[in-house]
Every structure is written in C-alpha cells, then in structure tokens.
C-alpha cells in the first residue's frame, strides 16, 4: 500500500526527534522531505504544493517550534491534514424507492471497471440488496462475455444484448443507451433493486466515447455515477478525474489495484480535484476483495502508524467469534494447546495474505523488511507449521512434552522438514503460550498486539535451516545498531 510513503515520513520525523527544539527552517526542511515523498507517491504536483503550503503554515504558526516533541506534533499535523483531505468519509450506496436504483460505472480502459462491477454486486448482495449487472461496454472485444461470467460467479443476473456489440472499429451509436434502458426495464420485471451499468473504457480526450457516456447519463439519469480509477495512476490521475467529473458529475470514486505496492497518491489527487468521496478500494483479484474506504486508516498508513482500524474491522468480520472467545479463555488460563495454536493461526490466515496483515500493524512494515520476509515466505512457513502439526498424533498435539528425539525425527519425516524445525516449532508454540498467559484476558486490541508478537517471534522464528529469524528483531545486536545510529544523529 502506501508503505514507501510511510517509511519516508517516519524517516523525516525520526530525524526531527531528539533535537528538542526545532526552528522554522527545520520545519521547512522536513516539509521538503514530505514533498518529495508525496511526489514519489504520485500525488499530483499541484495537490502536493497545496498540501505543503497548508501544513507548513500550520506547523510554523503552531506549537511545533515550542513543543518538546516536535516530531509527534508534526506527525499529528500532517496526519490530520491528510485525513482532512481524504475525508469526509461516505461509503454508503444511496438507493431510491421505488427501485431500481441505477449505478453507472465509468473509467479509463484497464482501470478495472468490469471486475469492480462484479465486486460491487457482491458487496451489495452482502448488504441484502438484489443487484443486477448490465453489459454496456460494447467496444472492447468480449467485454460482454466477461461480465456475464463474473455475474455467474457472483450469482446475480446480467443483462446482455450481444447483437448490440459494436462492429470492429466503430462506435455503436445509441446502442449503449438502449442496452442500459432495456436492463433497467428487465430489473424492474425481475424485481432487482439495483442495476449496475458497466460502460466502455475510454480516454478522457476521446470526445466520441465521452459523448456516449454523457448520453447514457442524460437518458438514464443514473442515481449514482462512480469513477473507477487505477491506484497506480501517475500525475495524469487529475486529468482523467477532472474530465469525468466535469462531464458526468461523479458521486464517488473507487480506487482499484490497491493490493499492489503502489503508494497510491492517485487517491489523494483524484479526491482533491473532484471533491467527491472515495467509496471503495479494490484490494485483490477475488470478487470479495472490495473494501470500504476510511481516510483515517489510509492516513495512518501513510504515516507509518499502520492500519489498526482496518485490521480490527476485518478481523471482526472474519474471525469466528465463538472460537476466538474460547481461545481467549484458554489463553488466560494458560491452557492453550497446540491444537488451539494451529486453529488460531488458521483464523489469522483467513484474513488474507500475511503480507497484507503485517502491513496493517504498526511497526510491522519495517519489521517484515528486516526479516526479509516476502508474502510468500510467511505463507510457506505457515504451511510448514501446519505440515508439522499434521504429522503429530493426538497425544503429541495435546502434550508437546511427550515429543522426544525419536518422535521429532518421525514428525520431521512425515512433514518433510528438517528435524530442528520441529523443535523450533514446539519451542515457538511454548513461547507463544507463555506469552499469551502473560497478556491473557485482553480485548481485541490486546490480541492484535499479541498477533504482532506472534509474528515477530512466532512465525519468523521457524526460519530456514540457518536458525530462527527471531534474532533479527530481538537480538541485542540489532538494537545496538539502532542505538549507534541514533547517537550519530545526535552528534
């Protein structure tokens, strides 16, 4: 996500900390770094300029200079301003009575409109609506077929009219409007309460296709118009967003491909230039990977504070509450078994790729980098842990003390791992159990902290044959290095 920007900003503020008092010049220096970071994150030049001016003014005029902890104050100012720019939040989809509510999706080619239509339909299904899709992209070859397949996967009807598809090299005049109108009628007949129109992708400077969109907009009068925008878009994001907003009067933005490592400056740019709320983020290929947008989470991410709110929300939805409750009790009593440990791990895995989860937890960004762990590595290690667990018998799972050298060898053979990995796994489990006992009986936030501990020690510690990776984080060596770094800065 916005990792790199976070790092940059934490770097800036780290250099501020420990100086005690900072001058106006210090603020300007820091803001220069913020500017570079934002530009590198593809935030539009004009937007950056405005942001820097505002924040610099606030920072200089305020308590930063007098404050004992200038970095904290600066973080707060930058953070608040970012939230301010990305808000106000409004992820609601407005519906009308009587239906159907018409939602029109538009955007450039390749921004992910068709997939997002499917995701939105799935999201609305989850909210108790009965959406329907309309294939009004008559330009791109096989776009109609693609939407039909997606509709099937989501389980919603798709209105298509293959006869209306534009002949090669032409724009089918009026056909898209006809398809949309027929789709709305069909929805009324079928009793669907929402129709999502998938329109053809186009360049902002292609007036012919823009006219087609305007025609749909004028004739169908959609209740909501959403612009689908690629999160990786560069400086050009403002041009597209502005053009679409001027011609169609957007109601909201959906940013796609946020599961990439893009810094996502396009989000800020598009929000700023249109003034329209960001509704959702696309965060994966699967059709359930659509998230409601929250500026706090995004700003915290930018500042390297992690996205706690996002993690909690997601965890709440996907964690099996009952099981978690039971686990919590066991943790408190310290009677956690290996079985529970694995069950907990599986729960965590349900949240999605580990790399993503780690990115959401404060401090985990840098940590996972230190451990040199890619997304795949974590997944691999989890699979190895499961394999070891699966190779144990029931008694061994209940009581790890039983496992002696001979059993270890047997388990290692069964799991296809080195013998020492089995030992490490057990040690890791015991460590976690004790840790859990120590922090037992806490709420969701506490458990998150625990997960952080588990991930820094727990999963990392399995490591490769070279020994536990745990050392990279906890060893004195590392801390000493950090200390030295700090010392140097002070001098």
């Amino acid at each position: 996500m916005l990792d790199a920007l976070s790092e940059r900003l934490s770097g800036v503020f780290r250099s501020l900390s420990g100086r005690g008092r900072i001058s106006e010049e210090n603020v300007r220096d820091a803001m220069r770094e913020v500017r570079t970071a934002l530009l590198e994150a593809d935030v539009n030049y004009q937007v950056v300029k405005q942001f820097i001016d505002t924040v610099t003014e606030k920072a200089i005029g305020q308590e930063v200079i007098k404050s004992l902890k200038p970095d904290q104050v600066m973080i707060k100012i930058v953070h608040d301003e970012l939230v301010n720019l990305m808000g106000p939040v409004d992820t609601r989809i407005y519906t009308v009575q009587p239906g159907p509510t018409v939602i029109m999706m538009c955007g450039l080619q390749g921004s992910g409109k068709t997939t997002t239509c499917g995701k939105l339909a799935k999201y609305l299904l989850g909210k108790g609506h009965h959406p329907m899709l309309a294939a009004a992209d008559l330009q791109r070859p096989a776009a109609v077929e693609q939407l039909r397949v997606i509709g099937e996967q989501v389980g919603v009807p798709v209105y298509t009219d293959p006869a209306k598809v534009a002949p090669h090299g032409q724009v089918a005049k009026g056909a898209a409007v006809a398809v949309c109108r027929a789709a709305v009628n069909e929805a009324r007949k079928l009793g669907r309460d929402i129709v999502i129109l998938d329109t053809a992708g186009r360049l902002a400077i292609d007036q012919e296709l823009m006219d087609e969109l305007k025609e749909i907009n004028a004739q169908l009068n959609p209740h909501q118009v959403f612009l689908v925008l690629d999160a990786m878009t560069g400086q050009d994001a403002v041009n597209s967003a502005k053009a679409f907003n001027e011609q169609l009067e957007l109601d909201g933005l959906i940013l796609t491909k946020f599961d990439s490592d893009t810094r996502g400056g396009a989000l800020l740019s598009a929000k700023m230039v249109t003034g329209k709320p960001v509704k959702f983020l696309g965060v994966g290929e699967k059709l359930d990977r659509l998230e409601e947008f929250r500026p706090e989470g995004m700003a915290q991410r930018i500042l390297g504070m992690g996205d706690i709110v996002g993690l909690v929300t997601e965890a709440m939805e996907k964690f099996d509450a009952e099981q978690t409750q039971k686990l919590a009790e066991k943790m408190q009593k310290g009677t956690l078994t290996l079985e529970d440990f694995i069950a907990q791990m599986k729960q965590v895995r349900k949240l999605g790729p580990m790399g993503k989860i780690m990115g959401m937890i404060p401090g985990m960004n840098e940590l996972s980098k230190q451990m040199n762990m890619g997304e795949g590595d974590v997944e691999k290690q989890m699979s190895r842990m499961e394999a070891i667990y699966n190779s144990m018998n029931k008694q061994e799972r209940k009581n790890t003390d039983l496992i002696d050298g001979s059993r270890r060898r047997r388990i290692a053979r069964g799991a296809g791992v080195e013998v020492n990995e089995v030992g490490q796994f057990i040690k890791q489990f015991e460590l976690s159990r004790d840790m859990m006992r120590a922090v037992g009986g806490m709420g969701m936030m506490g458990r998150l902290r625990l997960m952080r501990g588990l991930m820094s020690g727990g999963i990392g510690a399995l490591g490769g044959p070279g020994g536990p990776l745990l050392r990279t984080k906890r060893s004195g060596r590392m801390e000493k290095k950090d200390r030295n770094k700090k010392k140097k800065k002070r001098r």
């Binding site: 390749g110 997939t115 050009d236 795949g376």
Partner: protein
C-alpha cells in the same frame, strides 16, 4: 505535435477530436528568447514532474540547467532546451536496442506480460498486425491467459480480425500447457512469430509471478533460444510504480523490452527514463489507440519532444 503526427495521419477520421486538441498546443515554457530565471526553472520542474519523470530525474535535469545558468554558460530558454534534450537523449536507447529480436532461424517466440489492465491483449493484437502486415511474417497467437473471464474470447476475436492463427485451451487450463502446445503447433506449421499472451498479474503476487517463470521455462525448453523477446506492457498513465513493475517482472522472466500502451492520452510516460536508467530496458513499441494499426516503433527524439509540450487538455 510531432510525437503523434504519424499516427494522426494514419487515423485522421477516428482521432480527429484528439488531433484538434493536440494541435492547439502552446509551448509556453520554451518560447524563444525567454530568459532563464528562478520562475523559469520552477515551471520546468513542474512540467517534468507532471510527465511522471520522477523526482530524482527531474532534480538532476533541473540542476544541470541551473548550474549552467549560474555559471553564465546559458541564458535563454532555447539553450536550456538543448541542455535538457541532450541529458535525456543520453539515457534513451540506441537504434539497435529498439529492434525486435528474431530467432536466427525457425520460430521466434515473443512472450508478453504485464499487470491487470495494462493493455496486454490489445497490444498483442497491434504486434500481430505489424508483424503480419508490415514485416510479412506468419504469426500465431497463444492464449495463455486462461484466468480472466473471457480473455481467450477477446484474443480469439482479435486473431480473427487480423487473420492470424491462435492456439487456445478452455478457461482455467494450465497456461504453461497452452504455451507448450502452441510451441509445438508453431514449429509444425512453420510459424515465423509466436506471440504468447499471459494473464495480467500484479507484480506483488509472488505465486503468479512464479507461474509466469514456469511459462517462460516451458517455452525455453520447447524452442531453443526462446523466448527471443520478452515484452512487458506498461500503461502510460502509470506513475512511479511502473519502475517497480519493471523490476519485478524482469526478475521473474528477464524482460527484454517494453511496450508502452495508451500513450495517446494526456499521460507522458516519463517513467521510461528511470526504467531505462535503472534496468537498461528499451521501449520497443508504443500503443496509440484502440485499433491494431495504432502501433509505432519507439522514437526517442519524438518522445523527448513530446515531453516538452503541454499535455493535451481533456475533452470538456
């Protein structure tokens, strides 16, 4: 606007609107006789940043001009333009680098990859068109994007329109297996160029990147020296993330060249400078529209010229 002139000639009808917008271009920055001053330098910086050239590149180029100006070596806009152009041309690829690589004999394999929505399938259609109609090659397409809904259909439609052969399996099939069959078919039918389409994938999805490596390996085993060309399709509207994409794809499949799609919009694709510098990857082709004919080989001089011009205003 010379950068697009050839295409515009070719496409007078379809892109007339665009042409009108492009031709109203005003060159405010480098107007002859304008003196260099701080205001000029700031404007230049803004212009280059908005072309997605990246902070580092822009800072370097602007300093090059600023330093010469302070030393009194240059004074006006024209001289500044010359300095910038020579800086940029130094980075961009030579002619030899930009040629499509063919097998010395037998079938040439071109592997095409990129992230979701970059424009792979359309770019392949363009490539097939230029190979068939301008280079007189016998072309075959391989539908190894078996993941995205209707991707095979989309490629099939293009194959029919252009009049080239296509090898495909059903959706969900192993993409490496499709590539394997396509290699056999291409050799058996004396095909000159086999173009392999692959599913779009984000460069951060490690397992999908491994799948891509596997497709490459299968192709390499079937035909010696293949893939002769590995093209990464990049969306011209992408920002600095394009560099990450180039890095990651290069790691997985050893990319040999870039195909920059959607360069007919208002985006400038300034990221290709950084990619060239850091990874030595040349741009081989650019895509300028939605029909197969809208393809051109990359011309550095025209690219640089375009960077100096104002972005075409979006339709309003």
């Amino acid at each position: 606007m010379r950068f697009f002139s050839k295409t515009l000639d070719k496409l007078k009808g379809a892109l007339r609107k665009t042409a009108e917008v492009l031709n109203t271009d005003v060159r405010t920055l480098f107007i002859p006789g304008r003196q260099i001053n701080d205001q000029f330098l700031a404007e230049m910086e803004e212009k280059f940043l908005q072309a997605d050239m990246g902070v580092q590149n822009v800072e370097r180029i602007v300093s090059a001009v600023r330093d010469r100006w302070r030393l009194g070596k240059i004074k006006n806009a024209e001289e500044a333009e010359r300095v910038v152009k020579s800086e940029l041309m130094e980075i961009l690829p030579t002619d030899a680098d930009r040629e499509l690589r063919f097998a010395p004999s037998g079938t040439t394999v071109v592997l095409v990859a990129g992230i979701n929505g970059a424009g792979k399938t359309t770019s392949i259609a363009k490539l097939a068109w230029i190979l068939k109609n301008q280079m007189g090659k016998k072309v075959m397409l391989c539908a190894s994007d078996t993941f995205r809904a209707a991707a095979v259909d989309q490629l099939t439609i293009w194959a029919e329109r252009i009049g080239v052969e296509i090898v495909k399996h059903r959706m969900g099939a192993d993409p490496a297996a499709v590539a394997y069959d396509a290699c056999e078919a291409a050799v058996a039918r004396n095909i000159d160029v086999l173009i392999v389409d692959t599913a779009g994938r984000l460069h951060t999805q490690e397992h999908l990147m491994r799948e891509l490596t596997k497709i490459r390996d299968v192709v390499a085993r079937k035909i010696p020296g293949a893939p002769h060309e590995v093209l990464l399709v990049l969306d011209a509207t992408t920002g600095q993330n394009a560099i990450r994409q180039a890095q990651m794809f290069s790691q997985a499949i050893n990319v040999t060249g870039l195909f920059v799609a959607k360069l007919d919009g208002s985006a400038r694709g300034g990221f290709i400078l950084s990619i060239r510098e850091q990874l030595k990857l040349p741009v081989k082709f650019i895509g300028l529209g939605e029909t197969p004919q809208d393809i051109e080989t990359f011309d550095p001089q025209r690219f640089v010229d375009a960077l100096f011009q104002d972005a075409p205003a979006p339709a309003a």
